[in-house]
Every structure is written in structure tokens, then in C-alpha cells.
């Protein structure tokens, strides 16, 4: 099995403070971590590798510091890692990001499963995994909470839906985005940590993956973040109670009159 896992380095949101005046996140001094769902993705990949053999490659698009996140995944047991880092990649939205990752996956060439986390905890879009699948023309299953079976040609997985799950059979290669409940990611071992720090991890730029300059980074992003803000707190609602529906209607009309709405 050739497995590729896409991971992202994110600020540890459990440590993020909110600027009380500006209402924005204070990122300064906040430690960076591997996106928690991506660790579940790495764990899923490592479990399949343990059962069926093969190779696990982790890739990440990000600034040079994202190398730390890749090393952590190698310390967990991933065999190879590639960092996609280029000034041209800066400012990418989910479309450009998934295009870039897809180009890197094309360059790697051999793959049976592409794992992603359900979403990144900083952007919370859950769009990059599906985007990769679309760029590569692969089937995809999102919100995977359990892997029931893996064969050389397909997988049977459980996909979480509200109040239950679907059982889906998907041919390989495919993109699988995983839920937190799928497994408990292992800790990196001390041996793995040492190995990870001796490992040469290649850095690929736009040219290395044959990505078109127009389609990566800011240039390739149809969406742009205009403003980040904390939404204003809304006042609590009020529940009107009476004997029956008619009674509630009377109360409601009274309230609306008081508020001079009717």
C-alpha cells in the first residue's frame, strides 16, 4: 500500500488568547502543533501499513517552520516526508492549496490512499481534502469514523452522519478524510524522534511540482479573507410559556407591542 497523508501545521488553539481590545487571535508566542485531525490521519495510515505493508509519505504545504510538523509525523512512524514551500504559495485559499497538494501528489506518482484530517482547526473549512480529490479525479469519503476493511483494490469505511453513519465501499485510489473518533494517534517514540531529526526532508517549490504560477498562492485563489473578527455577542433569547399555543401567541403579541414592533 502506498499511502500519502496531507498534514498542516496550525497554532495550538487551546493556547490561543483573544486580544480583548481588537477581538482577534493573539498568535504571538502560541506554540505550533500538527493539526489534531491530521494526526488521526497519520495514525490511520500507519495502522494500514502495519497490517498490509507499504509506505507512508506525509506532505505539507507551509512555511519552512512546518518542517517541525513533518518531523513529528516521521517520529510517529511515517517513512517519507515532503515540504511544499515557496513564496509563490503564500496567501493560498483552499482551492489553491488543494491544487498545490494535488500537484505534489501527482509528482510522487504512486498512491493507493490519500488521507487527510476532517478539517484544520485554524480555518475549519474541511475543503482541502475534497479539493485534492477533485483535482486528481479521485473518489472521496469524508468524515470517516472507522475503517472496516482494506483490500488491494478498495476500502469499506464508516462515514459519520448526523445521528448515525453510512457504510461506504470505495475503490482505490481514493481520498479519505478522517474524524477524531477514528483512532487515538500514537506518541512519537524516542527512537523515531532521533530518526526524524536525522532525516533529510526535501522542500519542493512550484517549479518542482510543475505547478502553474497562476494557480498557486494568492494568484490561484478565487476567495480572499477580507476581515477576521469576533462576532458580536447576541443577547440571550426568551422562552415564552403559557397553557397552550394560543396563550403563547397572546404573550408574543404583547411583547411585540411593548417593543413597538407591531
Amino acid at each position: 500500500m502506498e499511502i500519502i497523508v496531507c498534514i498542516k501545521q496550525v497554532p495550538d488553539t487551546t493556547e490561543v488568547k483573544i486580544d480583548p481590545v481588537k477581538g482577534t487571535l493573539i498568535r504571538e508566542g502560541v506554540p505550533s502543533i500538527v493539526n489534531p485531525f491530521d494526526k488521526n490521519a497519520v495514525e490511520a495510515a500507519l495502522q494500514i501499513k502495519a497490517a498490509k505493508g507499504g509506505k507512508v509519505t506525509v506532505i505539507s504545504m507551509g512555511p519552512p517552520q512546518a518542517m517541525d510538523a513533518l518531523r513529528e509525523c516521521v517520529a510517529m512512524g511515517a517513512d517519507e516526508a515532503v515540504l511544499l514551500s515557496d513564496r509563490a504559495f503564500a496567501g493560498a485559499d483552499t482551492w489553491a492549496t488543494s491544487y498545490t497538494l494535488a500537484k505534489a501528489i501527482e509528482k510522487i506518482g504512486k498512491y493507493d490512499i490519500i488521507f487527510c484530517g476532517k478539517q484544520a482547526i485554524d480555518g475549519d473549512t474541511a475543503q482541502v481534502g475534497p479539493g485534492i480529490a477533485e483535482h486528481l479525479g479521485l473518489p472521496q469519503v469524508t468524515y470517516v469514523q472507522k475503517i472496516r476493511e482494506v483490500t488491494d483494490t478498495g476500502m469499506i469505511v464508516e462515514r459519520a452522519i448526523e445521528g448515525g453513519y453510512e457504510v461506504i465501499s470505495v475503490p482505490l485510489p481514493a481520498m479519505i478524510a478522517v474524524e477524531k473518533s477514528i483512532n487515538e494517534p500514537r506518541f512519537p517514540t524516542m527512537m523515531g524522534t532521533m530518526k526524524a531529526h536525522k532525516k533529510q526532508i526535501p522542500i519542493w517549490g512550484a517549479a518542482d511540482i510543475n505547478a502553474s504560477e497562476d494557480l498557486v498562492g494568492m494568484n490561484g485563489s478565487p476567495t480572499q479573507v477580507k476581515r477576521v473578527f469576533a462576532p458580536e455577542r447576541r443577547g440571550g433569547g426568551e422562552i415564552l410559556q403559557a397553557e397552550d399555543e394560543a396563550g403563547v401567541c397572546v404573550l408574543l403579541v404583547e411583547k411585540l407591542r411593548e417593543a413597538k414592533i407591531v
Partner: protein
């Protein structure tokens, strides 16, 4: 590093900041090791800490096994015996981080340190192959049984006897060991007995050897989740191939291992100290009294700052020592036959630094734990809050691995031996100083940051030489009976090494990262030296008053006055700034 720095050389010579190792020199790998162990404690140990404290069956042993699977038990063990074979700094970092886990850290420390290392460093190839893989993986748990009811500090006074069986295949051991950590769940016990009642010898004893039994658990003040029992040996038949090292050479094993144990204890205290500072800083900012967070009160700020400063000093001296040990171990061919003895000789070279780490680490942690409770007020006395446990758990550190009194005796004794052997030029330095002191002194003027503090520390080294020189002259061989003086000499050595390590670290940050990054380290060093000089001066006077009389005494006081002349700065203001930095970070910080 081109040339190794000799043990205790700091008393008579100066080194430059880039010759000392500091936590700012940790590699990315070191940081990842620290993070991994910290997460292990947070995610695996803390959720079951109540069960650990109650000694629920299998919990601690289960955690040890998990740590083993992750390679955390095998940092010091070569790969060929199933270890992770890490550099020494990594091993020390693991030790530091583990102490956030309370009692579990004690089980971990006894297992990986005093339990495993005797076999690693003194075992035969067969013994290593037999025991180390299981100890590295955590499938087997180790204990170290040196103390006896009548042989505590006086460890060589062991009453346990070993007699060779008639067929020459076994030693028959009889005796009782007291206060043995991990006893309840140990599979392998390294212990000591006198062969024929005379030759002090180390043995590896398997727990299931007939004749070995374990006493009841002690009801302890703290570290309640660690096991402490007596180990009773009644005609225990230990195969002769389980003699560890050589018959009659048990003291070499015992004392060398204790050096390492002492150093690791000092490093371990850093982790618990940082945790206590974190908890106190967070609590102080949340707790409101008189309509404001108690964090804003001057006395609370002063406490928080003092906690940070002392931890900074201990951390600086511990990792400086760690760097020395690491450099020395690098020069050893770890595959060679005698690698183990070479490593322990290395720790022996830095025996003074190891004892300093033990004393300072345990006393700093006790201070910090105590103030952390105080900051929590009545809530700090309640088991609802973690500082209550930290306070109780802290106390043991001043007792085991050689009480702090015993460690205070080791320091001057080791220095005297090194001086007599010519390993450090203590006597020459004292003589040169006598001439120097007769001349008028002109302090060097300099605008460099910490120049005043550097000068002050150099002068404190001279005060030490004056005091030690006078004691040696007046008392000669009788000095070993004057424990009060020896104790003060040890205090002085601890302070010199601590203050200088703090200063060198601040300078190193300044040189490598600039003024803004070094600001906090400079403030902490400044405060520490500011408070140290008068304390040191008082100690020196105390000793001189005990040794000299009349005119000589007065002349000596004049000399001391010259050496300890130091204009104090406004420590209150600096400490407020230090406390504010801790509040802002919500934890102990050095580089901001």
C-alpha cells in the same frame, strides 16, 4: 568543544559564555523530546493520577510499560540492548519533564536511574544482555536497595551479609533493606551485601529468588503513589554470576551511581518547579481579593519573581553541568569494554557539580512549592488543588540520594581531595590571593551589562578562597570535624556555581539573541546577585568569627569588606517586572 573543562574548575577560573551549555542551546530534537514527554504526562499520566496516588494495582507499572514502548526508559541504554541510545542532554530533558507527573516520576527515576544504571555501567556483557532489554521496554521494573535500618547516610555500615555456598554456585544473602523505591513491583533489585561480613559487594537479585520478600508499604508524607517498602533477604540464594562488578568493590558502584542520581534529581526538580510556578501564576491572576487579582499585590509579585529567579539559577547550573557531562561522555568510546566505568568516572569528575545540583534543586523546589501553596491561600492547603500535592511530594528530595547534609559534606571533601591531588589549583589560588589582597583594589569600570555582577561573583570566589584557606590553615586535618564550617563552604560553592551559571547564560542569550531577548535573564541575574552578596558576606563573617580572634579577625573583616563591597540596586522594581513577565506568559519564562 576543544578541551574539556575540569570538574570544580569554576572556583578558580573563568569561562566564556559560549563554553557553557544552556537550555537555549537545545536542538529541535531536544525540544521535540521535551514536548513528547510533556504530552505523555499530560495525556497518559495525569488522567490516572488519582489511581497512581492510591497505588491501584497495575497502574504505575502499566505507565512504565507505555513509557518503555515509547523509548523513554531507554535513553541511556545502547540500541544493541534495546535502548534508544540518546545523547545525555535528551536523557536529562526526559528526567526534567517526567517530574510534572508527581509520584510516577519517582517510579520512573528509580527505575531508569539507580535501578538500571548499575547494570548498564558495571554489568558484564551477559548481565547486560539478560537484563537491559527488559528494563528498557518496561517489561521488567528495577529497584535499588542500598539503605538499611542501621545504614542510612552511613551506607557502608551495611549489615547484610553474603556467604558463598558450599558448592560455590551461590551467595547466600541475609539482611534487611529499608525504604526501597519500587519494591512492591520490582522484578530486579540491585542490592549490596558484605561478603563474609567484610567485602562490600553489589548483587543483582531477581525478585522471585527464594528467600526474597517485600515488607509493607510505608505510609508516607508525599509521593504516595510511589512504592516504598523494605526488602528482606532470608537465605536468599543469589547465583555467583549475579555479582555486579567485583567482590569488595561495591562502593565503586554505589557512589558512582549516586553521583548520577544526584545530578538527575537536581534536573528533575526543574520540572516540578516550573509546574508550581505555572499553577501559582495562573491562580494569582484569577483569584480576586479587595476587588483585584491578588497577582497585582507587591508581596505576591515578589514571591512569583523570587520563584522564577531561583528556578532560573537552578536550571542554568543544572544544564551547564549537563553540558559538561555530555562533552565528557562524547569523548568515550561507548562500545569499548570499559565504557561504563569511563562514564561513571565522568560523573565523578563533576561530583561537586552533581552535589550542587542535588542541593540547589531540592531546596529551590521546596521553596517554590511552599510559596505556591502560600499564593493559593487556604485553597493551597486543600487537596482540590495540585500545589498541595507538589508541596508534600517536594520534601523527599532533600532526603534521598544522600541527604543535603551529606551532600554538603561531599563538596568540601571532594574539593580538598582534588586540591591535594593537584587536579584544581585551589591552594595556589589561595596563596596568590593573599598577595593580591595586600594591594589596594580598583574595581574595573565597565558599562557592559552585568559587569558589576560579574565583578561581584569574582569577588565572592575570592571570599570563598579566603574562608577555605583560613579554615585549612587553622584547622588542618581537624577541619572534617568542623561541620558548621564545611556546611558554609558548601553553601558558598553552591552559590558561586549557581550565580555564575545564571550570569553566563544571560550573557550567552545577549550575545546570540540580542538585548531584548536577554532582558529577563539579565534582570533575574541582577536580582539574584543583588540579594546574594550580603548573604554571602554574612556567612563569611560567621566562619571567620569562629576561626579567628582579635586583630587577625579584624583584619580579615576589613578584607571581606573590600571584597563584598556592592551597591545594591532596587530589587523590588526589578522583581515586579520579572513577575509581570511570568504573568504574561502564564508560566516560567527566560527568553521572551
Amino acid at each position: 568543544m576543544s578541551e574539556l573543562i575540569k570538574g570544580s574548575a569554576f572556583l578558580t577560573s573563568k569561562v566564556s559564555p559560549d563554553q557553557v551549555f544552556t537550555p537555549e542551546d537545545f536542538s529541535d530534537m531536544h525540544r521535540m523530546v521535551a514536548d513528547t514527554v510533556a504530552s505523555f504526562i499530560k495525556e497518559k499520566v495525569m488522567p490516572v493520577s488519582d489511581a497512581v496516588e492510591k497505588m491501584e494495582e497495575g497502574v504505575t507499572v502499566g505507565l512504565l510499560r507505555q513509557a518503555g514502548e515509547l523509548g523513554m526508559l531507554g535513553a541511556d541504554i545502547p540500541e544493541k540492548y534495546g535502548g534508544a541510545e540518546m545523547d545525555k542532554i535528551s536523557s536529562f530533558i526526559i528526567t526534567e519533564q517526567m517530574t510534572r507527573g508527581g509520584s510516577f516520576a519517582v517510579a520512573f527515576g528509580a527505575h531508569t536511574g539507580i535501578g538500571t544504571l548499575p547494570i548498564l555501567y558495571f554489568g558484564t556483557e551477559e548481565q547486560k544482555q539478560k537484563y537491559l532489554p527488559g528494563l528498557a521496554s518496561g517489561e521488567k521494573v528495577a529497584a535499588y536497595a542500598l539503605t538499611e535500618p542501621e545504614a542510612g547516610s552511613d551506607a557502608l555500615n551495611a549489615k547484610t551479609k553474603a556467604v558463598l555456598s558450599e558448592d560455590g554456585r551461590y551467595y547466600i544473602l541475609n539482611g534487611t533493606k529499608q525504604f526501597i523505591t519500587n519494591a512492591a513491583w520490582a522484578d530486579v533489585i540491585v542490592t549490596y551485601a558484605k561478603v563474609d561480613g567484610e567485602h562490600f559487594t553489589a548483587f543483582i537479585v531477581d525478585r522471585n529468588t527464594p528467600g526474597v520478600s517485600i515488607g509493607l508499604e510505608e505510609h508516607k508524607m508525599g509521593i504516595k503513589g510511589s512504592s516504598t517498602c523494605s526488602v528482606i533477604l532470608e537465605d536468599a540464594k543469589v547465583p555467583v554470576e549475579n555479582v555486579l562488578w567485583k567482590v569488595g568493590k561495591g562502593h565503586q558502584v554505589a557512589f558512582n551511581i549516586l553521583n548520577i542520581g544526584r545530578y538527575k534529581l537536581g534536573v528533575g526538580c526543574i520540572g516540578a518547579s516550573k509546574l508550581a510556578i505555572e499553577l501559582a501564576a495562573k491562580y494569582a491572576q484569577e483569584r480576586q481579593q479587595f476587588n483585584m487579582p491578588i497577582a497585582k499585590f507587591g508581596m505576591i509579585k515578589n514571591k512569583i519573581a523570587e520563584m522564577a529567579i531561583r528556578n532560573y539559577v537552578n536550571e542554568s547550573l543544572c544544564y551547564r553541568t549537563g553540558g559538561l557531562i555530555q562533552d565528557l561522555v562524547h569523548t568515550i568510546d561507548l562500545d569499548a569494554e570499559d565504557a561504563g566505568q569511563k562514564v561513571t568516572e565522568g560523573f565523578q569528575e563533576y561530583a561537586v557539580e552533581c552535589s550542587v545540583a542535588k542541593i540547589v534543586g531540592s531546596e529551590v523546589l521546596d521553596f517554590i512549592a511552599d510559596e505556591a501553596v502560600q499564593i493559593h491561600g487556604g485553597y493551597g492547603y486543600s487537596q482540590e488543588y495540585m500545589v498541595e500535592r507538589i508541596y508534600r511530594d517536594s520534601r523527599i528530595n532533600r532526603l534521598f540520594e544522600g541527604t543535603n547534609e551529606i551532600n554538603r559534606l561531599i563538596i568540601p571533601a571532594t574539593l580538598m581531595r582534588k586540591a591535594q591531588k593537584g587536579e584544581i589549583p585551589l591552594i595556589q589560588a589561595a596563596m596568590k590571593l593573599q598577595e593580591e589582597l595586600l594591594m589596594p583594589m580598583f574595581p574595573e569600570e565597565s558599562d557592559e551589562p552585568l559587569a558589576r555582577e560579574e565583578q561581584a561573583i569574582e569577588n565572592l570566589k575570592k571570599v570563598f578562597l579566603v574562608v577555605a584557606g583560613t579554615a585549612a590553615q587553622k584547622l588542618g586535618e581537624k577541619m572534617i570535624r568542623e561541620q558548621e564550617i564545611l556546611g558554609r563552604m558548601a553553601d558558598m560553592v553552591c552559590e558561586i556555581f549557581g550565580a555564575e551559571s545564571a550570569l553566563l547564560r544571560a550573557r550567552k542569550i545577549l550575545n546570540n539573541k540580542g538585548e531584548a531577548a536577554a532582558a529577563l535573564a539579565i534582570k533575574m541575574t541582577t536580582c539574584y546577585v543583588n540579594d546574594l552578596v550580603p548573604r554571602f558576606d554574612a556567612w563569611a563573617k560567621e566562619v571567620i568569627a569562629a576561626l579567628e580572634e582579635g586583630d587577625t579577625k579584624r583584619t580579615m573583616f576589613t578584607v571581606l569588606k573590600k571584597l563584598t563591597r556592592f551597591e545594591p540596586v532596587n530589587g523590588y522594581a526589578l522583581k515586579r517586572e520579572i513577575a509581570d513577565a511570568v504573568y504574561k506568559a502564564n508560566k516560567y519564562v527566560v527568553v521572551v
